[in-house]
């Protein structure tokens, strides 16, 4: 089996937002919609306060609450773990958006463009199917599928890897198959301490955050 997951190394992320820009470029999301965001968090108490940059978005949960609540079956989970939305089925009730503990879902009711009137690039890539329905990060499933069809390896070959991962200047973001013990993400998780966001909710997110290396023997 395959389970696509993403790993974010919090020690490496510098908060440059290149992943956010790359995602917007790759997916043509309208203003205000950021499928890949980077939070700028202040952590600790004075005088020991630090800044941490935290990439967030759809966590592609193994047990996604958005899918369970969806009345139209528009939200589904593929066998490889990617959570998808069928824009032709979605009714835009936004139940998934209030069920998602990661604020990863957006609904845009009206066409919006960066400067009011659409620029040529925006007009060309405008997709009316995305109006009035839920949208979110897809893990660039189309790139993954196209890459696999060409015999490429997602997470290793850029052509088969999500745009945000490709763009990361610090190599903080990684993508790969959790079920493959030899994959990049499995190796990273074996060598480092990690956590998942709001793990107590039992959603089993497919997005791991590295925070420290494991010492030998731990």
């Amino acid at each position: 089996m395959t389970r696509w997951v993403m790993v974010a190394d919090l020690r490496r992320c510098v908060g440059c937002q290149t992943c956010t820009a790359a995602c917007k470029h790759a997916n043509a999301t309208p203003p205000g919609v950021q499928w890949r965001r980077v939070l700028d968090m202040e952590v600790g108490e004075y005088p020991d306060v630090r800044r941490v940059f935290v990439p967030v978005g759809c966590m592609h949960c193994a047990d996604p609450p958005c899918m369970h609540v969806c009345p139209s079956t528009a939200t589904r989970k593929r066998p490889d773990g990617i959570v998808t939305i069928d824009y032709d089925l979605c009714i835009g009730c936004a139940y998934c958006a209030v069920a998602c503990p990661y604020q990863a879902r957006y609904k845009t009711d009206e066409p919006t463009f960066a400067y009011g009137e659409p620029m040529a690039s925006e007009a060309k890539r405008f997709d009316p199917r995305r109006l009035g329905v839920a949208t979110k990060c897809t893990f660039c499933a189309d790139r993954v599928d196209a890459g696999l069809a060409k015999g490429l390896k997602p997470g290793v070959d850029p052509e088969a890897t999500p745009a945000c991962v490709n763009s990361c200047i610090a190599q903080a973001l990684h993508f790969g198959d959790l079920d493959d013990p030899a994959s990049n993400v499995s190796q990273l998780l074996a060598e480092n301490h990690f956590f998942r966001m709001h793990e107590e909710l039992g959603t089993e997110p497919g997005f791991y955050y590295l925070w420290d290396r494991k010492e030998a023997g731990t």
Partner: protein
């Protein structure tokens, strides 16, 4: 301790969704109570209850992004409480309209059962919304059910003042106050409780004590039933409106560990 993006109010469900819980819950409660009334009063209460449920569903229909696809709401009865609510609503209207057309008491009783299921589905809809801590509490389910019954049962007394609906109203009002206390305890210390506090405080004196006191005089002063219904409904609707539109904070983000960079003196403790 993490000072990341703090929880913020969800913007996806607004007054239109709130109306579904306000009108739908009250209407369903009225259909339940109509089973305890007699003759034309029962049918009038049943009709009013169905109209309220329809108004609530109509309001929420205004909120969906793709209105012409509304029928897709029926596609996921396996896991979605919204789908289940929709199926129960169809059953409720079928039974209710049949009861209105034929006057058969057993159809009213069946419609009452469907109405009780409808308001239960509403509670479960909120409970399944894991992204909103104030909604996902299991204590929200009895609160939503009790407030719907309390509103509907007191409203039924406007149609006919009888012992059975009066007893139901009294019990439902007390149950609502108890459910609120349990729910409030579950939310202790959260920003959601602060947002709910004004509406929640009114649930006991205005929504429970005042209607119970007025109902005590209902047989000697029938007008007091109207006042009791108005107080119970106003308090319940205000509470549900606040629950959907004012207390629906998400969870924000939090870091259980902070990254260890450079000197390894912090041990990853946030």
């Amino acid at each position: 301790m993490s000072f990341g993006p703090r929880p913020w109010l969800q913007q996806h469900w607004d007054w239109r969704a709130a109306c579904n819980f306000m009108f739908g819950g009250c209407g369903a409660g009225l259909v339940v109570a109509a089973a305890l009334l007699d003759g034309p009063h029962a049918l009038a209460a049943l009709g009013a209850g169905l109209a309220l449920v329809a108004a609530g569903l109509g309001a929420v229909w205004l909120e969906i992004g793709r209105k012409l696809r509304a029928v897709h709401v029926f596609f996921n009865p396996f896991t979605s409480w919204m789908t289940r609510e929709s199926f129960v609503a169809v059953l409720l209207f079928a039974l209710g309209i049949a009861a209105l057309a034929t006057g058969a008491p057993w159809l009213r009783y069946a419609a009452a059962a469907a109405a009780a299921a409808f308001v239960f589905c509403q509670g479960r809809i909120l409970h399944a919304a894991k992204g909103i801590p104030a909604w996902r509490q299991r204590e929200v389910v009895p609160l939503i059910v009790a407030t719907g019954l309390a509103e509907g049962a007191t409203a039924a007394l406007v149609f006919e003042l009888a012992v059975a609906p009066l007893a139901l109203a009294g019990l439902a009002l007390v149950a609502r106050a108890l459910a609120w206390m349990r729910y409030r305890a579950a939310l202790e210390g959260t920003s959601a409780l602060a947002a709910l506090a004004p509406a929640g405080r009114a649930l006991v004196p205005l929504g429970t004590v005042a209607p119970l006191a007025l109902l005590a005089f209902a047989f000697v002063m029938p007008e007091s039933a109207w006042l009791a219904a108005a107080a119970a409904i106003a308090a319940g609707w205000r509470f549900k409106f606040a629950l959907i539109t004012r207390a629906a904070f998400n969870q924000g983000f939090a870091l259980p560990k902070v990254p260890v960079r450079g000197a390894r003196t912090q041990g990853g403790k946030p």
